[in-house]
Each structure stands twice: as C-alpha cells, then as structure tokens.
C-alpha cells in the first residue's frame, strides 16, 4: 500500500469510527431517557429529531463524494434548521411538540385533498384510490383527519429567525443558516462561485463567466466536521433539557482529536475546535493533503 493509500485508509477509518461513536452517543441518550406515556409526543418528536440529526451527520461522514459545495450545503442547512427547531421545542416541549405533530398532519391532509381534487377532475374516484386511503390511514392513526386543521403558514407560527432569537441561536442562524441557504435556494452568491467558471482571456471583457455543469471541487473535510459540530451542539441541547450527561465519550472530541493526529502525520492540521470550520471551500483540506502526500513524499 502506498503512503497516499495508507493515509486515505486511516482517514476512512476515522470517519467510520466517528459514525459508530455518534450512533453510540445517540443510543446512550435514548437508553437513559425513560418513556413517559403521558408525554409520548415529546418523546417521539424530540427523539425523532435527535435521530434525524444523528443520521445526517453519520451519512455525511460516510459520503466523501458529497463533501462539495454543490451537495454538502443541502444537508448542512437542514441540520442547522433542526438544531434551532430542536432548541425552540425544548423550551416548551409539551405544547410545541404537539404543535409540530399537528402541523405535519395538516400538511399531509392538504396533500391528500389536492390529490383527491386531481383525481376527481380526471374522472377518478378519490375515495377508492389506494394512495388516498393510505394517507388518510396515516393521519387517522394519529388524529382523525376530520379534526385535523391545515396551517399553510409557519408550523411554529413564527419564522426561523425569530425562533432562533427566542432560543439564543441568532449567530447560528445569521452565519451558518444563511451561509448554507445560498446553495439550497440556488442564489447568485452560490451560483457565481460554484456554477460559473471565469474566462481568463482579457479580450473577453476582462473575464466573463461561463456556465459549467459539475465544476470539480475536491472533497472538503470541513463539511463533515461542520455536521459533527451541529450534531454535538444538538446533543448538548438535549443534555441540558434532560439535566444529565450521557455515560459515553464525545464522538466529536474523538473525531477532532484523530483528525489532528492524522494531520500531524501528514503535516497539515485542521482548524482547531475553537476555530469553527469555515467551510469556505478554499482552505486546504486533509483529504487533499492525503491525496497529495504521495507526490510530496
């Protein structure tokens, strides 16, 4: 095995190790959180959100091809969204968990009604349609659909920025959420740097930009690191809510420590945990260094 392959292998072992530890952290929290049947909604909503956050962080860690400015922001923005939503719900868990569930039921009811109208308009029988039946059963299993209201506004009846302010996450919203939003909504400040390539011919207006599909960007380790930080943050919010620390080591601390050791071995250090990942796509990443280490050595 070449030195380069050796470094890559070590990196992938770190990623797998991180994913295993993240799931272990999640499982440990679930184990130590006994179900209160009177607060089942809280358990399902809070636990479900924590599960999704863990899943996203783990999937990102497992998928280096996703560590590009084209894809990673699409996964990181929901993680920030979830982190804010999670903290906001935990301020009034019973009321807000119920509000969260009912909004979701209303959204499915609205979809079902659109489907029924479409079927009726094309001569079909909405009541005998299998998909309609399935959706109705899904709603009725939680709350009778004829009691379910549809809210076409924000589920929390306030926007995410206000929710972030309510639970002390203004900076997270202002910096991280806005940063990933440009990619999610395909805005100019994402399109210009990542979907257009500058022409360097001075006779062409001194540099127009040409649309390019799949402009190659090297995988950037700062993306899974950002995901790991968001998950760890979410765990912390949960621990504060529960008032206890889990009986297991921090996956994030292990991840950062192993990356730093690998960085030392190949002479490149990632940014420190105190210096949050910039994810600017411009900084040299460990993955690049690993790839280049063979040539340098």
């Amino acid at each position: 095995m070449s030195e380069r392959d050796g470094h890559l292998d070590q990196l992938f072992q770190i990623l797998v190790g991180y994913a295993d530890r993240a799931i272990e952290e999640f499982d440990e929290r679930c184990r130590s959180w006994p179900l209160d049947p009177n607060q089942n909604e809280v358990h399902e909503v809070v636990g479900g959100l924590l599960s999704r956050q863990t899943t996203l962080a783990v999937e990102i860690a497992h998928g280096p091809p996703m560590w590009t400015p084209h894809i990673a922001p699409l996964l990181l923005r929901p993680m920030v969204d979830l982190r804010i939503t999670f903290a906001w719900i935990l301020q009034e868990p019973v009321t807000r968990s119920r509000q969260f569930v009912r909004y979701g039921l209303g959204q499915v009811k609205l979809s079902m009604e659109h489907l029924k109208a479409k079927l009726a308009a094309t001569g079909g029988d909405p009541e005998s349609n299998a998909q309609v039946k399935m959706l109705q059963q899904w709603i009725d299993g939680q709350r009778f659909h004829f009691l379910t209201e549809v809210n076409v506004g924000n589920w929390a009846e306030k926007d995410l920025r206000t929710m972030a302010t309510d639970c002390g996450c203004e900076t997270l919203y202002r910096e991280d959420f806005q940063n990933w939003s440009s990619a999610t909504h395909s805005m100019w400040h994402h399109i210009q740097p990542f979907s257009l390539e500058p022409c360097r011919n001075p006779l062409h207006r001194g540099g127009h930009r040409v649309p390019r599909a799949s402009l190659p960007f090297p995988p950037d380790l700062d993306y899974p690191r950002a995901a790991a930080h968001y998950l760890d943050d979410t765990f912390e919010v949960f621990d504060t809510f529960r008032g206890e620390k889990p009986n297991c080591a921090s996956a994030l601390e292990w991840f950062e420590s192993e990356l730093a050791k690998l960085g030392d071995r190949i002479k490149v250090r990632p940014t420190t945990p105190e210096d949050p990942p910039m994810v600017s796509n411009k900084s040299p990443s460990i993955v690049d260094s690993v790839r280049n280490s063979n040539q340098e050595s």
Partner: protein, 251 residues
C-alpha cells in the same frame, strides 16, 4: 453590559437607511438611483488607445502623442462639442475632415500613431480611429492578438498604474483642447504629480480626482460610445477563444 461596551458595539449596517426590508447604502439613500459607469464595459475601450500609446512610448511621449490627434482634429473642426480623448468620438468626425486632419498632423507623429495603434484598428476594423489610415485599412499581423491582450490586460485594474496614467492622459487632453477648466485649488491642478503614482500620497489623491472626473465626463457619451464599446467587446469574443484554469488553457 457596561455603557462602554455598549458604545463600542457596532450596529450592523448602522449607516444604512432602512426602507421596508431593504437597507440602502448612505450614498444612494441621499442621492437616489444613479447611472453607474463600468470601467471595463464602458470606459476601457474608450481610453485603450491612450493606454497603448503609454505602453509603447512611456508617459511623456504617450501623452504628447495622445494629445496630437485631438489637437489636429480641433484645428480642423473649429468649434465643436466632441470629447476627443474618447475613441468613440472620432466616429462623429465627418469623413471629409479626415484628409485634412492627417495633413495637419506632423508626419512623424502620424506614422508613430499608425504604428502604435495598428493592432487595434487591424483587429477591430470598425474602430473609429480607422480613418487615420485614410482609405487603406491596416492588415492584421500575427503578433497583434498578443499586443492587444497585453494592452487590455494592463488596463483591467482601474486603480493600477497603466489605467491611471491612461485616464490622466484623457484629462490632459481635455485641458489642452480647452474642454476642461478647473477652479483654483482643485486637485486636478496637480495633474503632473500622477507620474509618481502610486508611490506618493499626492499622486494617489490626484489619481482619485482623475477617476472621479473621468467617470463624470464619460457617463453620458450616448450612441457613438455605445456602438464602439459594445462592438469592441463583441469583437473580442471573435478574436480568440475562452481560457479556463480548470481545463488547463484554451477552448
């Protein structure tokens, strides 16, 4: 939080004016919408000829050559309202006047102008300066593309020395053709200081005044200017292919 801390906290966009959900910068909040002039799009093609003269002959000779054509044109046209530092303005000089302009120019100066500006006119045959060759337009040479690339490239940075000196030449032409007079104490009275740009404070202040003046004088040159600048950049696309870093060069 102590009062001191509060006083030192900077409010984000604190100097902007909020109108609904928009924050207007102080400049537009006070003055309203303005016609923006783009250096690259609108001005560079107009002043390129001055940049080429400077690039080839240095600032002193370049300025002298650059003012020779406007002065000759002035003497032939008599009273007129053209700003002859701009390439596009030569498209509005009556065709029948060009023979006389060529005659008025010193033969050595004419030859030097032709030698220096030949790549521009050869590669951009609709350039308004083409009539400097009377009825026989110059032929392109193999090295012309490189000459033009170098000339344009050197002027892309408006605050760079070559672009600043080309703009200074334009102001100089306005002075010598009596198109510009400045009040006593104006920074443009010290135009000569620009030779030191960007090494001295005074040269940087003069350069700033030059840029402001050029933008003001050049923002409403109308159809002739549009024709030339649009043609210039369209023609550039025909002359040579795009170049990309990611594909290792040209395509």
């Amino acid at each position: 939080m102590s009062p001191d801390t509060r006083n030192h906290r900077r409010r984000v966009l604190g100097d902007h004016k909020q109108v609904g959900k928009k924050f207007l910068p102080p400049f537009t909040a006070h003055l309203g919408a303005i016609n923006e002039v783009s250096w690259v799009d609108d001005l560079l093609p107009e002043l390129l000829w001055l940049g080429m003269l400077n690039q080839r002959h240095g600032l002193r000779v370049g300025a002298s050559l650059g003012s020779a054509l406007p002065k000759a044109t002035d003497s032939v046209l008599g009273q007129h309202d053209k700003w002859l530092q701009l390439t596009s303005q030569y498209a509005t000089v009556p065709v029948e006047s060009w023979a006389r302009i060529i005659e008025v120019l010193d033969p050595d100066v004419l030859q030097t102008l032709r030698d220096t500006l030949r790549p521009l006119v050869a590669l951009y045959p609709k350039c308004p300066l083409r009539l400097l060759w009377a009825s026989i337009p110059p032929e392109p040479d193999t090295s012309d593309i490189q000459t033009m690339r170098s000339a344009v490239d050197s002027l892309l940075d408006r605050g760079g020395r070559p672009a600043t000196l080309a703009q200074a030449n334009a102001i100089y032409i306005m002075f010598v053709t009596d198109k510009l007079q400045v009040y006593k104490g104006s920074i443009l009275e010290k135009l000569e200081s620009v030779v030191d740009y960007p090494r001295t404070d005074e040269s940087r202040m003069v350069a700033s005044g030059i840029r402001a003046a050029i933008t003001g004088f050049s923002s409403q040159q109308g159809e002739a200017s549009d024709d030339w600048t649009r043609y210039f950049w369209r023609r550039g696309l025909e002359l040579s292919p795009c170049e990309f870093a990611s594909r290792g060069g040209v395509e």
